[in-house]
C-alpha cells in the first residue's frame, strides 16, 4: 500500500513555540522521504484547526496522519474524530506528545527541540505500522444476574425486574430465603411473627420477569458493564450438571454469610450437651413453639451467650445482641417463670428503637452479665455450668439451657466465587467494596455489585437498603437501547503460532481468553478483552498481538529513541 503520511505540528498557542523551535522541526521533517507533507498550525484543536486538518487530509489524500501536539489524554479522540470525518480510518493516526512530555519538561530549547524531533520521527515510523481497526458497538444488555437467593438477593431482584428487564436469580440451595428465611421474627419490636420473607419469596416466584434457578451454581462470569456472559450449572437431582449460558448487563453478588462453627472453640461446650444449642436451633424451637429441654421438660433457667466467635474472628457481628434480646422477650413472654441471663462482651444496640427494647427486657427481669470470655461450659448434674471470666475474675452460673449466638462468617464459597469473578476480599474473607464509605456497593469490576452480608455482618434493614442502592446503580446505567463500545485495541492470538500452554489464561484478569481444546489453541473473546496486554507479555511463542500496541509499533518507538 502506498502510504501518504501527513505530519501536523501544533503550536498550541504560545505553549509549544516557547520551548521548541517549530520551524526547525518542520524543516527537518520535510526532508524525510517517508512523509508527504509537514505543516504547522497555531491551534489544531480549535474549530479552525480541525477544519484545517480535515481539509488537509482530503486535499493531500492522506492515508496516515501524525499530529505533534499535546498529550493523547487531551486530544487523541478529537483528532481521531477529524480523521474519521475526513474519510480516514481513525486508527491510522498517531498523536505525539511534544507539549507535556517535551516542551513543558525541558527548559533548554535546543534539547527540547531535538527530543521533539525524535518523538515525531518515532510517531511517523509507528504510524506506518498501524492497522486500520474497526470500531464496534454493542447494544447494552439490560438483564441482571443475581447470585444468592437470600433476602438481599430477592430484594434486589424484585426492585430490578420489570417488563424490559429480566433477572436471573441463582440460589445454591433448593429454596429461596437464605438465613433470614429461617428466622421466627424479623424485627424484635414487631412482637408478633410476620411473614415478610415468605411474602417476598412468593412475590419473586410469581414475577414472570425473574428466572429462579435453585440448586444451581454460577460457574463462570466474564465481561464488563453492559456485557456479561455467565454459565449457570444446575445441581438439581434430575438435571445434575446441566449448564445454561446467560447474558446480562450487570451482576449482583448477594451470597450472604455462614455461621461460625461453635465446635471450633471447646469452651462453648457445643455438641457435648444436648441442651447447649445455637441461636439458629433456638429459632427452630420458636418456630415449632416448643421450647423444651431434651428430657421434654420446660427449662427453668436459660443462659443466652453473646459474642461467640468475636474474639476468634476479630469483629462484632452486629445483629446478635438484638436477636438475643428477642429470645429473652420470647422466653419471658412464653415461659413466665424462666430465669434468663444474658452473657455479653459488649452490647451493640445502635438503632433508635433498640434502647427501649433493651429496657423492656430488663424490666421483665432479664439479667445482663458482662464477661470477657467463656472459659468452660460443662454438664453438672442436670444443669449446665457456664464458667466465664470478667476482669480477671472467674465466675460461674448454672442453668438448664444455653443458647449461643455464633459470629457471622463469609459464606462457604466466597473465596471460590471471588476468584471466579476477580473480586477482592477483605482480611476476614468477606467481599470488599470499592470504598467502604464512598462507594459501598460497587466493586473494582465495573458492573458487578455486592449487597448484604456478603460484605460483612449487617442487619436486615441495612441489607435491604444496600439492595435498593445496588438496583439504583444498575437501573441508572443499564438503560435499554444504550450502546457500549467494546475496546478496539484488544489482543488477538495467531492460531498457528499458539502452542496451547494457556499461560495467557492465567494472567488475564477478565477471563477474556479461553482454551479451545479441539484446536488446541487459546482464543480471545474480543467483546470482553480490555486491551491491557498482559497476555502479550506472557506469551513465549509471540503468538499474541495487542492491536495498536503491536511489537512492531512499539519497536519503532524504541529504535527511534535509541538512534
Amino acid at each position: 500500500m502506498n502510504k501518504n503520511i501527513g505530519v501536523y505540528v501544533c503550536e498550541c498557542g504560545p505553549n509549544i513555540p516557547e520551548r521548541i523551535d517549530i520551524d526547525k522541526v518542520v524543516k527537518e521533517l520535510s526532508s524525510l522521504n517517508e512523509v508527504k507533507t509537514v505543516k504547522k498550525h497555531s491551534l489544531l484543536c480549535s474549530n479552525d484547526g480541525k477544519k484545517f486538518l480535515k481539509e488537509e487530509i482530503e486535499k493531500e489524500e492522506l492515508s496516515h496522519v501524525v499530529v505533534a501536539a499535546c498529550s493523547p489524554k487531551d486530544h487523541e479522540n478529537t483528532f481521531m474524530k477529524v480523521c474519521e470525518e475526513a474519510g480516514m480510518n481513525p486508527y491510522l493516526f498517531q498523536l505525539v506528545n511534544i507539549r507535556e512530555q517535551c516542551a513543558w519538561m525541558i527548559p533548554d530549547k535546543e534539547e527540547a527541540t531535538s527530543k521533539a524531533l525524535k518523538y515525531i520521527k518515532a510517531g511517523i515510523h509507528r504510524v506506518m505500522y498501524h492497522d486500520p481497526l474497526e470500531k464496534k458497538e454493542l447494544e447494552i444488555k439490560v438483564d441482571v444476574l443475581v447470585i444468592g437467593g437470600g433476602i438481599s438477593g430477592i430484594e434486589a431482584s424484585l426492585s430490578l425486574a420489570g417488563p424490559n428487564r429480566k433477572v436471573h436469580l441463582v440460589e445454591k440451595t433448593d429454596s429461596l430465603g437464605g438465613m433470614a428465611g429461617k428466622l421466627s421474627q424479623i424485627l424484635p419490636h414487631q412482637g408478633s411473627k410476620i411473614k415478610l420473607v415468605k411474602e417476598k419469596i412468593e412475590q419473586a416466584k410469581n414475577n414472570e420477569n425473574i428466572n429462579i434457578y435453585t440448586s444451581s451454581e454460577v460457574k463462570e462470569v466474564r465481561g464488563f458493564l453492559g456485557n456479561f456472559e455467565a454459565v449457570i450449572q444446575s445441581n438439581q437431582e434430575n438435571e445434575e450438571g446441566k449448564v445454561e449460558e446467560i447474558k446480562a448487563g450487570a451482576v449482583v453478588v448477594a451470597t450472604g454469610f455462614d455461621l461460625y462453627d461453635l465446635k471450633e472453640n471447646p469452651a462453648y461446650g457445643y455438641g457435648e450437651n444436648e441442651n447447649i444449642v445455637s441461636a439458629l436451633e433456638f429459632e427452630d424451637m420458636i418456630n415449632s413453639e416448643k421450647i423444651e429441654l431434651k428430657n421434654g421438660k420446660k427449662p427453668k433457667s436459660v443462659a443466652l451467650v453473646h459474642c461467640a466467635g468475636r474474639k476468634e474472628k476479630g469483629y462484632c457481628s452486629k445483629v446478635c445482641c438484638l436477636y438475643n434480646l428477642k429470645f429473652a422477650h420470647y422466653l419471658k413472654d412464653n415461659l413466665p417463670d424462666v430465669e434468663v441471663k444474658e452473657l455479653y462482651m459488649d452490647l451493640c444496640l445502635p438503632h433508635k428503637q433498640d434502647q427501649s427494647y433493651f429496657d423492656q427486657a430488663k424490666e421483665k427481669g432479664v439479667e445482663f452479665i458482662r464477661m470477657d470470655e467463656i472459659v468452660k461450659t460443662k454438664k453438672s448434674g442436670d444443669k449446665i455450668e457456664v464458667e466465664y471470666k470478667n476482669n480477671d475474675k472467674t465466675d460461674k452460673l448454672s442453668v438448664d439451657m444455653v443458647v449461643i449466638a455464633p459470629a457471622m462468617i463469609p459464606s462457604k464459597d466466597t473465596s471460590e466465587l471471588a476468584e471466579l469473578m476477580n473480586l477482592p476480599l477483605d482480611k476476614s474473607g468477606f467481599f470488599k467494596e470499592l470504598h467502604e464509605m464512598l462507594d459501598p456497593v460497587a466493586t473494582p469490576m465495573e458492573g458487578v455489585y455486592i449487597t448484604g452480608c456478603a460484605l460483612g455482618p449487617r442487619n436486615i434493614p441495612e441489607s435491604m437498603t444496600q439492595s435498593h442502592a445496588t438496583s439504583g446503580k444498575i437501573l441508572s446505567s443499564l438503560i435499554p437501547g444504550r450502546k457500549v463500545k467494546p475496546e478496539v485495541k484488544v489482543s488477538e492470538i495467531k492460531e498457528d503460532l499458539c502452542t496451547g500452554c494457556q499461560t495467557c489464561l492465567s494472567v488475564c484478569f477478565y477471563g477474556a481468553i479461553s482454551y479451545d481444546p479441539f484446536k488446541g489453541v487459546s482464543v480471545v473473546n474480543e467483546a470482553i478483552c480490555r486491551g491491557c496486554g498482559s497476555c502479550v507479555g506472557s506469551c513465549p511463542s509471540g503468538a499474541i498481538r495487542s492491536k495498536h500496541f503491536t511489537y512492531y509499533q512499539l519497536y519503532q518507538e524504541v529504535m527511534e529513541a535509541l538512534r
Binding site: D496, L497, T499, S506, P540, S541, G542
Partner: protein, 370 residues
C-alpha cells in the same frame, strides 16, 4: 514409608525382567524406554508393545538421546493415553514432563512412571564410539561406589536432584555396591504399589536416602558451585557473555531439544525478530561493524526469560551444542537463582503454577517504591 522390594538380580537385568513381566501379563500395554537401534551402540527412546521387540530394550543404559519428558509430551500432547503404559525416565526427564503437563503439553494419566537414583548419563558424542561398552562398564563402577563418573556430562556431574520426585516406582542404583547381584525397587505411590506383586523379590524395610546418597549429593553440590563459578568470571559482564556465546551458530539446537521450550514456533525463529535491513546504516554508523546474523545474545537472554525459571538442568542443550558452549551450565546457574527468587522447584508439583502465570500481592513489596 514406601514399600520396598529387594530383587536378587543384576539391576539392569532385574528391571528388564520386571518390565517384561508387566508387558507379558498385559498389566501394561507398552513400555516407553531406551532401546538398542543397531550393533554400533546407537540407542533411542521407543514405545514398545511387542515382547519380541522388548528384547532390545536397555532401560538403564546411560544415554539421554532426547529428554524423555519432551518425548512423552509429544506422545500425550492431544490427550491421555487410553491404554496403560510404563515409562522409564531419569529424574530430570520426569521433572521436565511435570513442567510440560503444567503447560497443557502432556498427560500423565495411565502412565506408570519408573525412575531411578541417577548417576548421570554419558555425553552423546560418545554414542557409537568404539570404546562405548568399556566406558559404560566404567560408568557402572562409579555408580556403585557413588562416585561422580568423569565420563558423564558436565550437567550430570553437578546435578544434586538425582533422586526422582513424582515417580511411582524408583530403582535404587547409586551407592549400591552389589548392583551386579541385587537392588531395591521402591513403590512410592498407590499406583506403583499395584504393580509390586510383579517384582519377584522379598519385601524389605529400607529408605532410599542412605548415607552414600547424601555424601554423593554433597559432592555434586560442591561441583555445582565450582562449575557455576567457572562459567563466567564475575566482573566482566557483557563482554564475557559475548565471548562465551561467540561461537554460536544460531542453530537454536539448544531450544529445539530443551523440554521447557515447548513452543511450536520459537519466537526467535519467527519473523518478529528478523533483522530489519533499514537499521543497518545506523548500526554500522555507531559500531563500525556488525555481527551477522545478529541477535545472538537476544536469543539466549530472551530464551532465558521464557524458560530458565523452569529449567530442570537436564543438560540436553549443552549436549547438542555443536560448538561446545556450556549452555546448560549457564542456564542452570540462572535457573537456580530465579528458582530461589520465586521459591519454585520445577517439576515438583503438577498443581503448582509456573511463576510466569501467577503472582502474589505481598511479594517483592519494596520493588518499585524506592
Amino acid at each position: 514409608m514406601a514399600k520396598a522390594v529387594k530383587i536378587k538380580k543384576n539391576v539392569e537385568e532385574g528391571l528388564f525382567d520386571f518390565l517384561k513381566s508387566l508387558l507379558e501379563t498385559e498389566k501394561i500395554k507398552g513400555v516407553f524406554t531406551l532401546k538398542k537401534m543397531d550393533d554400533n551402540g546407537a540407542v533411542s527412546y521407543s514405545l514398545i508393545t511387542s515382547p519380541d521387540e522388548f528384547k532390545k530394550a536397555v532401560p538403564l543404559y546411560p544415554f539421554m538421546p532426547v529428554n524423555a519428558g519432551k518425548a512423552l509430551s509429544s506422545f500425550t500432547l492431544l490427550g491421555k493415553t487410553e491404554e496403560p503404559i510404563a515409562a522409564v525416565l531419569r529424574p530430570c526427564e520426569l521433572r521436565a514432563f511435570v513442567e510440560l503437563i503444567k503447560r497443557a503439553q502432556g498427560d500423565v494419566e495411565n502412565i506408570l512412571i519408573i525412575s531411578l537414583s541417577c548417576g548421570g548419563v554419558l555425553s552423546l558424542n560418545l554414542m557409537g564410539d568404539k570404546d562405548q561398552e568399556s566406558t559404560v562398564s566404567k560408568y557402572w563402577e562409579s555408580v556403585k561406589k557413588a562416585e561422580i563418573s568423569p565420563d558423564t556430562r558436565e550437567t550430570c556431574q553437578f546435578c544434586e536432584n538425582f533422586l526422582p520426585i513424582n515417580a511411582d516406582i524408583t530403582v535404587a542404583a547409586v551407592g549400591n555396591k552389589d548392583l551386579d547381584k541385587e537392588f531395591t525397587l521402591f513403590f512410592n505411590t498407590p499406583k506403583g504399589e499395584e504393580f509390586s506383586k510383579e517384582a519377584s523379590g522379598s519385601s524389605v524395610s529400607e529408605e532410599i536416602e542412605t548415607k552414600e546418597i547424601n555424601d554423593f549429593k554433597k559432592k555434586r553440590e560442591e561441583l555445582k558451585e565450582k562449575f557455576f563459578k567457572e562459567t563466567q568470571s564475575e566482573d566482566t559482564g557483557l563482554k564475557s557473555l559475548v565471548n562465551i556465546f561467540a561461537p554460536c551458530l544460531g542453530c537454536h539446537g539448544c531450544s529445539h531439544v530443551c523440554p521447557i521450550c515447548y513452543c511450536t514456533l520459537c519466537e526467535f525463529d519467527s519473523k518478529t525478530h528478523n533483522y530489519p535491513t533499514s537499521s543497518l546504516g545506523s548500526d554500522l554508523m555507531v559500531k563500525g561493524g556488525l555481527k551477522v546474523p545478529s541477535g545472538n545474545l537476544l536469543f539466549h537472554l530472551g530464551r532465558m526469560t521464557h524458560m530458565a525459571v523452569s529449567c530442570v538442568s537436564c543438560g540436553m542443550c549443552s549436549d547438542v551444542c555443536p560448538v561446545n558452549i556450556p549452555v546448560a551450565t549457564i542456564f542452570s546457574k540462572v535457573g537456580s537463582s530465579l528458582q530461589k527468587e520465586f521459591d519454585y522447584f520445577p517439576g515438583k508439583d503438577i498443581e503448582e503454577p509456573a511463576p510466569q502465570g501467577t503472582y502474589k500481592e505481598d511479594e517483592f513489596t519494596k520493588i518499585g517504591e524506592q
